[in-house]
Amino acid sequence: MIELNDVTKVYNQGRANEVAAIRGVSLTVKAREVTVLKGPSGSGKTTLLTLIGCLARPTSGRVRLRGEAVSSLPEKFLAQLRRQTFGFIFQQHNLIRGVSALQNVMLPAYPLGLPHARLASKALELLAELGLEHRAGLTAEHLSGGEAQRVAIARALINGPEVIVADEPTANLDTALTQQFLEIVARFKSEGKTVLMTSHDPRIWQAPLADTVITLADGREAAA
């Protein structure tokens, strides 16, 4: 599904605070599998995730999606990929503050210009599936951590993506909520979606549903 070929990412290139976050990674994310990136903080997990999810372009190397090199595509196509192929669940949920949970879920579909009523009922359905129907009208900052994460999951699903990308999804969750999250991931997998997660939480990478676990250290793939 996704192939990385000797990918590097350097931040603040040419400046005093230059950081090489990824120093040559080659890996493959297989379709309809759950792939977990693990490793200590600063090992480059998040950066790698943003490269795979087309949130950033690699400094060198190549990212292929379904055999097509995406790293050199123009911005407009990347936005389309982010919108339709990927569903992102960010580490801090990254909900838009001051906007209702429902509207947050609908946001990724706004550029598509779907009729509002249809979009709203779809978003509400997703929230209902995650047991959040009653929270739909609350603004993002009034949601608890677990609720906010589920809203973020609903948001990632609104455009029916093939690939779910989640950055440290369980970082702020207790055991029960983590369990709940794993159940959701299991459902994604059963629906044939590709799931890619970063985590330093053993409960995630030791979970039986993790098909592939890739370990990162200092921006390189390390032996597990």
Binding site: L102, A117, L124, A136, G137
Partner: protein
């Protein structure tokens, strides 16, 4: 509709924005109508005032009555400074440096030089 009601959401932002814009445009249209309706009577009034100006041979607007050079702006001899009411606004730079007579208005009134 149902969905939104269940979610306890209010009016859509775009609806509210359109309502506000519509309201303002309505007011603007009402004012345009007002202007159109007032144009006729306005012309008549101006014509009547113009006729009075001709009859009486008036030369200036009665807007600023505080001083000669403001009341009959076009006929005033603008070259004699400090002309009328002691506290009248000056039109020469020096007028801003010379303070008004302190005893105003009592002394001025007693002396009958207010005008």
């Amino acid at each position: 509709m149902m969905a939104r009601e269940r979610a306890g959401l209010k009016v859509r932002g775009s609806t509210a924005a359109a309502a506000l814009a519509g309201f303002l445009v309505f007011l603007a249209a009402a004012e345009t109508l007002h202007a159109a309706l007032a144009a006729g009577p306005g012309r008549e009034r101006r014509e009547a005032t113009r006729a009075l100006t001709t009859q009486l041979g008036l030369t200036d607007l009665a807007l600023f009555t505080e001083a000669r050079y403001t009341r009959h702006r076009s006929l005033a001899d603008l070259h004699s400074a400090f002309q009328d009411a002691p506290m009248a606004m000056e039109h020469f730079p020096a007028g801003s440096l010379v303070t008004p007579q302190r005893a105003f208005p009592d002394a001025a009134l007693r002396a009958g030089t207010g005008d």
